[in-house]
Symmetry: C2
Subunit: 212 residues, 2 copies
DNA sequence: GTCTATATTGAGATAGAC
DNA sequence: GTCTATCTCAATATAGAC
């Protein structure tokens, strides 16, 4: 006996389509310069549909932000499983984030635009958290590396900022340039070169480990 | 015998006031979300005054961008005079830019918003040049440092990106946080620590020069 | 849920007096 | 050069039929 189609999530695709097109347009023209007219046209529906699902333009925007926030938390949550040397775990963290950034360029561009840009009339969103999580994680790993002898006693703060800064600039290359001048292999080499500089020295060796 | 007041630059202050208030508002709300109504109100004049001086909103925006571009060129031009070790010259370059950024926070915030953000209906402006000048300068200095023996043969690209990335993240702290967690002393320490890692080694020394 | 049609507001920009 | 008053258009948002 055939059952009726379940009434749950009746037209979830329309919601998704609206959000997807809105992301594209917000990235391209910004929140204020994107009209709901453009959004609904891109999604192939009419204005009242948008207002039906999201209440208003702000509601649509906030739903998008929520989704991004959850995506980020899931990404980071899936990274605490790594084990191995501190150097390896930092490299894994950085390349993991980089891979995710390359797979979600549009969303990441939106995040950067919101982080560095003005509110544009849109509700304020604090993305500092994203950055602070990375900063805190690297700081913890370095502390562990120093106490464990993998890294010599040095200026840990400077080390932390230089690593995170190098990582950030690689991410920024991915989203600001059509052909990034540095990416996955580059950040690995940077991490190695910086950490080689603060690695314990063997007695009579020439400098080893550069450009591994 | 009293002479008439000179007719040159009759009301240049009005122009300047409009541009200054526009910068503040563009930083605060973005180009699209700032109305000329708000701008002229902040400057204490009426709309036709703005249209008289700048033609339209875009014209005002472009004048601001032009001014910023010239400021940057002057800043960089005043930096090629430095001499000394490569390490010193990189430090001078970074701290010089940092000082200027701290003195012009509003303008720099605008630059970052334009660089990372969407056009918002404003004419496109390419600020990649700013960044590329810094990148090129550091790269040249490192090349000189390696050939001169101040820096050991190593991965120069990785070194360049790590230095510039570290510098960038310090700048970003200045404009994104009310109380930056790292600034002038921090970037000096970072440069020293990174360059210590690729400095020629004395024979039987313990590791020297960290955290100087 | 989705549409057509419309209400309402505020935007950029200008005419014309002084 | 600067004002008041006004034009024109596009934006957000909603009413009400289906």
């Amino acid at each position: 006996m055939p059952t009726k189609p379940l009434p749950i999530a009746p037209h979830d695709d329309v919601r998704q389509r609206l959000m997807q097109e809105a992301i594209t347009l917000f990235v391209e023209h910004g929140y204020a310069a994107t009209s709901v007219r453009q959004i609904v046209a891109a999604a192939g529906v009419t204005k009242p549909v948008m207002y039906y699902y999201f209440g208003n333009k702000e509601g649509l925007y906030l739903e998008i932000i929520n989704g991004i926030s959850q995506q980020f938390d899931q990404l980071i949550a899936g990274m605490y499983a790594t084990s191995g040397s501190v150097r390896q775990r930092i490299t894994d963290l950085f390349t993991g984030i980089l891979d995710s950034v390359q797979d979600n360029r549009a969303v990441v561009k939106l995040v950067y635009a919101i982080y560095f840009g003005p509110p544009q009339g849109a509700p304020f969103v604090d993305f500092n958290r994203f950055f602070d999580v990375i900063l805190g994680t690297v700081n913890d790993l370095l502390t562990e590396g120093i106490s464990g002898g993998e890294i010599i006693p040095c200026n840990r703060d400077a080390l932390c900022w230089s690593l995170v800064g190098s990582h950030q600039i690689v991410l920024e290359e991915q989203i600001c340039r059509t052909t990034p001048r540095i990416s996955r292999e580059g950040i690995i080499q940077i991490v190695n070169q910086i950490l080689d500089g603060v690695a314990p020295r063997t007695n009579n060796s020439t400098f080893e480990g550069v450009d591994r």
